[in-house]
């Protein structure tokens, strides 16, 4: 039989076969993983935070706000703010100076400094507090000197500030060092060849380059400074209305079965954490490419 020479001009295309996604997990496996993660988050994060607010509001909105009227509660809020206002700028200056020194210069002891900056992350906060008691306490190294000059560090505001600075000082430096390392020194060198002085270079070139990273570090530093419990607890002495910060006040109220008061105070800390989270997310979303944290993750 003669072959028919007509061919269809547009032969039907073979239908694409459903190809499993290259990562290989089945739909069931993926949804199971998502569900486990979601459940876990709900259990250890969402539920407790919701619990804080419901416990605080258990006796109504009036009791909730009334608990802040207590002078000791007010004093603890003021003290927390005071400690943060001193220690955060201190760590900002230290963090910028340390990152600048580490990333732009070579000097003896550089790697030691890098290691030391991480120390507060690896040491238990309680130990951090104890160190200051050993240094400045009545029986401590500088105790007699301080007593002789009528200065009080431990069980007073200076001790709280010192312990907070110690615990929070990695935050700014840890954020800036990788960022400034990635940026290198070329911008500063360019400014130098164009005749700018050191301060002008910092103000007009370096600072604008690191501002979002710096803000991010300050944000985390502040959150930790306000929320720190362990180190502060050791040096505080728990003097009501004088050396109790908010986290310490929460513990005291809780131990006295003043649940509304404790949870109301805790809700402020939780609220602060939520605000921090929102700001942090915003910074990461808007300026992600200028944050070292995003490159690390």
């Amino acid at each position: 039989m003669a072959t028919d020479q007509t061919f269809p001009l547009d032969p039907p295309r073979p239908r694409a076969l459903p190809v499993p996604p290259p990562i290989g997990e089945t739909v069931v496996a993926r949804w199971t993983l998502v569900a486990i993660a979601g459940l876990f988050l709900a259990l250890v994060l969402v539920l407790p935070i919701a619990g804080v607010f419901t416990e605080g509001l258990r006796k109504g909105i009036w009791a909730y706000f009334k608990s802040f009227g207590d002078p000791d509660a007010l004093a603890s809020i003021q003290l927390t703010l005071l400690v943060a206002v001193i220690s955060v700028p201190a760590n900002l200056v230290f963090g910028v100076a340390a990152s600048w020194a580490i990333t732009k210069f070579d000097f003896p002891g550089k790697s030691l400094l890098i290691t030391l900056i991480d120390l507060p992350f690896s040491v238990s906060p309680v130990v951090s507090g104890l160190v200051f008691v050993l240094l400045f306490g009545a029986q401590g190294l500088f105790g007699p000197f301080l007593a002789a000059h009528g200065l009080k560090v431990i069980f007073a505001v200076p001790g709280l500030v010192l312990a907070t600075i110690f615990v929070t000082f990695p935050f700014v430096a840890r954020e800036l060092i990788p960022l400034m390392e990635a940026q290198g020194a070329a911008d500063e060198e360019a400014a130098l060849t164009l005749g700018a002085s050191g301060w002008t270079i910092f103000r007009r070139v370096t600072l604008p380059n690191i501002k979002w990273g710096l803000l991010y570090g300050v944000l985390l530093c502040n959150a930790r400074a306000m929320g720190e419990f362990g180190a502060v607890s050791v040096v505080s002495g728990h003097i009501r209305g004088l050396t109790n910060t908010m986290p310490l006040q929460v513990e005291i109220l809780y131990n006295e079965y003043d649940f509304v008061g404790a949870f109301a105070m805790a809700s402020i800390l939780a609220g602060l954490a939520l605000i921090t989270l929102v700001l942090k997310t915003f910074l990461e979303w808007r300026f992600g490419d200028e944050l070292a944290a995003n490159r690390r993750h």
């Binding site: 070329a186 911008d187 060198e189 360019a190 400014a191 130098l192 060849t193 164009l194 005749g195 700018a196 002085s197 002008t200 007009r204 070139v205 604008p208 380059n209």
Partner: protein, 364 residues
């Protein structure tokens, strides 16, 4: 601005990045520092700019000893490999930076700065991009802005570190030509670093070839290409075939056969003959006093055809011939170099006598 470098050395820890560097940079010339990575070329440039301090030696700007002066005092323009534009400033602010950071007494008025910025934007052919940010520019445009920024402070000398290193081939070619034009128009003494031999040979008035922290050769592009001073320069610049030979009684001997060269070679012993692909004459097979070669393959190579040939000992020799030459794999040829350099094992170039246009012979 004339720059003199005397006995310069730089160590990074135990690693000697530069040593024994002597160089005179002439006023108004366009000089290339050429070398492979790690040859010390960028270090040399940074020392000249004052961004790096030498371990030893001196740098003179004119008659002034610049060794002890800071970057700011040297008043140099420096263009960085990755531009180093300030990303939070507009193009105009970038270019104006060097003027705006001056102390109040020396700072030009705002109108004067704006006028100068526009002038420079015109010079680098980006007149309409003043309000853009660096991230909105292409690589080539960024490089132009970086150059305008460096020129804004009216530097005494202009340094460029791998100015076209991060750009693609076509942009590179255009910018090369453009940089030459800018140089000719402004007359700045310009030193640039490159690892690209074509760039150095095409663009520069003089080329300094660096290797492992030492200067191998200083010369015009013609001198560097036609008369490489060392085996390194021969290998690094252009293509060359290397043929191991023995020098005996003034003659060059390959495979026991003395080449019919019209000169007498001074010295004795094992040496290497360097010949560029275009410096061969081809003769009929088994010509006396010539190398015997077999064609292994041919390929098109730019305007000419390149023959891959092998000598008796299997060593490869590349030869450029006009593309219409009829050769095929398997053909046997005889080869004689028209232009060549002979280096003894210690790297010394062999001298020839009588001294009459060394290396050049009438086609045999």
């Amino acid at each position: 601005m004339e720059i003199r470098i005397r006995d310069l050395a730089k160590d990074f820890g135990d690693f000697p990045a530069l040593f024994g560097v002597d160089l005179d940079i002439r006023s108004g010339e366009l000089l290339a520092l050429l070398g492979p990575s790690g040859s010390g070329k960028t270090t040399l440039l940074r020392i000249l700019a004052g961004l790096e301090a030498p371990t030893w030696g001196r740098v003179f700007f004119g008659d002034e000893d610049a060794s002890a002066t800071s970057v700011r005092e040297r008043r140099v323009g420096f263009v960085f490999q990755h531009y180093a534009l300030f990303r939070h400033m507009t193009v105009a602010d970038n270019i104006a930076f060097g003027l705006t950071v001056r102390p109040k007494a020396e700072r030009p008025s705002r109108a004067e700065i704006a006028r100068r910025v526009q002038e420079l934007l015109d010079l680098v052919q980006l007149p309409d991009l003043a309000r853009r940010y660096p991230s909105q520019l292409s690589g080539g445009q960024r490089q132009r802005v970086a150059l305008a920024r460096a020129l804004a402070v009216e530097p005494r000398v202009l340094f460029l570190d791998e100015p076209f290193g991060a750009l693609d081939a076509q942009v590179r070619k255009d910018l090369r030509k453009w940089l030459r034009e800018i140089h000719d128009r402004t007359g700045y003494t310009t030193v640039f670093v490159t690892h690209d031999q074509d760039e150095a040979l095409e663009l520069a008035d003089r080329v300094v070839v660096l290797n492992k922290g030492r200067i191998e050769q200083i010369g015009t592009p013609d001198e560097i290409y036609d008369a490489p001073a060392s085996p390194f320069v021969f290998d690094f610049i252009g293509d060359a075939s290397r043929i191991p030979v023995t020098v005996e009684h003034g003659g060059v001997v390959v495979d026991g056969r003395r080449l019919a060269l019209p000169v007498e070679v001074l010295g004795q012993g094992a040496a290497t003959l360097y010949v560029r692909p275009q410096h061969w004459t081809i003769g009929a097979p088994d010509a006396p006093g010539a190398l015997a070669a077999t064609v292994a393959g041919t390929r098109r190579h730019g305007v000419s055809r390149r023959l891959d040939t092998t000598l008796g000992d299997g060593r490869a020799v590349e030869i450029d011939v006009p593309p219409e030459t009829r050769v095929a794999a398997g053909d046997r040829l005889s080869l004689l170099p028209t232009r060549w350099r002979l280096f003894f094992a210690d790297g010394a170039a062999a001298a020839v006598a009588p001294v009459r246009d060394p290396g050049r012979v009438a086609a045999s």
